[in-house]
């Protein structure tokens, strides 16, 4: 993929005095939805601020679709950023807030008007457009920030904890919107603490801990790289006890448990490929009726627990 289609970090470090923000980050982020996951202080916001030029790297180089973040005149036409700061210029309505900053893009009055209205409609704030942002609820403020980030139709949308303060309905709508943007070929970078939602929206994840990138890529790929944790697989079949008995002969099987309605077998294996071969043999030998076979821990939550573990348990 050409550098003009990716967000690239090359050996990027950022220190706040002697405090580490992020250290030696090497990343290439392709289009689609990418989630930044990590405990508080892991460096998620620092990474986002670096790629939007709000912070400058102490070392290294960043390119957003080939543009340096130190070139705001070009970068800010490509990037929209919904920050976690819950503050707004005083005395502006939702509409005027969007309109005023769209004018900085050099658009005509008519275009600013049209885009402001369209963005507010997209986030469901059309009716509140002429109310002061200061009088908005937390959820509405979050939505108007989202509207501001996307109003100029950016190719890269960066969202820091975008689901905070949103009610379940608004969350579902926002997630659908992120997915839609990702499918349109945009870069959508999301940081979130809510792991099951990250799972739903992400094409790839970047796991951060204490300023370092712990893992990156599609979540299944990341899971398969975690060799020291046995893979958990859930098999639903008519005679799980038969399967369990055959499995215990194998060295790579760490654990097998029957649970649920008595038809589910949850097993842990150090060698998933050998297990799948064995399963084929058992099916042929004993006529086992298998309903489903699915990995049980290739989600963000499991990978997060394996790689970041207890330090992120508060998240």
């Amino acid at each position: 993929m050409s550098p003009k289609q990716t967000i690239a970090f090359e050996n990027v470090s950022r220190f706040y005095g002697e405090v580490l923000g992020v250290n030696r980050v090497n990343l290439t982020v392709p289009p689609g939805v990418t989630s930044l996951v990590g405990p508080n202080g892991a460096g998620k916001t620092t990474l986002m601020n670096l790629m939007t030029g709000l912070l400058h790297p102490t070392e290294g180089e960043i390119r957003v679709l080939g543009v340096s973040p130190q070139d705001p005149e070009r970068l800010c036409r490509l990037v929209g950023y919904c920050t976690q700061f819950d503050a707004f210029p005083k005395g502006l309505t939702g509409y005027k807030f969007l309109y005023a900053f769209l004018r900085m893009h050099g658009m005509s009055h008519a275009e600013c008007d049209q885009r402001a209205k369209r963005s507010l409609e997209l986030v469901g704030l059309s009716e509140a457009a002429n109310r002061l942002v200061g009088a908005y609820s937390k959820g509405m403020r979050q939505r108007v920030k989202l509207a501001q980030a996307i109003a100029h139709d950016p190719q890269v949308v960066i969202l820091d904890e975008p689901l905070n303060g949103l009610d379940p309905m608004a969350r579902a709508e926002a997630i659908a919107l992120f997915r839609q943007w990702g499918e349109q070929g945009r870069h959508v970078i999301v940081s979130s603490h809510i792991l099951h939602e990250v799972d739903r929206i992400s094409d790839q994840v970047i796991l951060l801990s204490q300023g370092y990138v712990v893992a990156e890529g599609a979540i299944q790929g990341v899971r398969s790289e975690v060799k020291d944790q046995p893979m958990q697989i859930l098999v639903r079949c008519d005679r799980p006890a038969v399967l369990a008995a055959r499995l215990f002969d194998q060295n790579h099987i760490v654990e097998a448990r029957i649970h649920g309605d008595g038809k589910n077998l949850l097993l842990s294996t150090k060698d998933a490929d050998s297990f799948y071969l064995l399963l084929n043999r058992v099916i042929l030998d004993s006529g086992l009726q298998v309903e489903s076979v699915a990995p049980a821990d290739d989600d963000v939550n499991s990978v997060y627990q394996y790689l970041i573990g207890a330090e992120g348990s508060a998240v």
Binding site: Y16, N49, T52, G53, L54, L55, H56, P72, E73, R74, L75, C76, R77, V79, G80, Y81, T83, F85, A87, F88, P89, K90, G91, L92, A100, F101, R103, M104, H105, G106, Q148
Partner: protein
Amino acid sequence: MTHLWIRQIAGVLRLELKRTAFSKRGWWIYCLAAAPVIVALLHWLLQSNRHSARHSLGEDSVVFAGMFLVFFLRGSIFFGCMGIFTSLFRGEMLEKTLHYYFMTPLRRELLAAGKYLAGLTVALMLFLPSVAATFLLLGRHFGAAWTDYLVHGPGLGQLGSYLLVTALGCIGYGAVFLVCGLIYKNPMIPAAVVWVWEALNPFLPALLKKISVIFYLKSLCPVEVPAEPPFSLMVIETDPASAWVAIPGLLAVAALLLIYAGISARQAEISYGE
């Protein structure tokens, strides 16, 4: 490109005027601008009720010159500009709203220029009427003699000079405090240093006097204020700068400071201390 820049500066100006002008936080600046007008108004009312004035028109013009130098230049214009211009960037840092500007395709130099123009507009809107109203009210109790002084005498010329000095003061101090607000987390400390330096100006040697804003502003004032003892013993007399030096000099210093502000804005980061 120029068209885009004008549009962007106009956008910044509009937003900043909304934020800066008539904000509740600026109440003390409005008081600074209103106070001399109230004093002059009281002076007029009190003197109007007396049958004969205890002082001459000339004395009142010297009183205004002293008031202008001490109260306006070293007081309200200095502190007013400090309040207005330091908050242009620092205030937004405290309110956590500066990143909205930083996320637009706006040259940071233009942002600094737009903010400076907004601050200057507010400062001029406050202090030009304040100076004019104080000047016009202070001698008002002389009645026809005052009107004659204004129309046929040096009155209007003096008022024009005071307004010019006020505008130049706002331009000069505005640029100084814009830079302070951009590069210092607590701009009050450099502002205090500048204030002490400006206050010490009469006692400084000739060469050091010239490294200040007040020296050039004072040089442009139409009426000289004699120093009273014991200060007169400590004051070091220096020839005032000519208008041809003072006006372009002040504008050039302000321009240099603005260029520096633009460079600082380009290098600025968003760090709200979280």
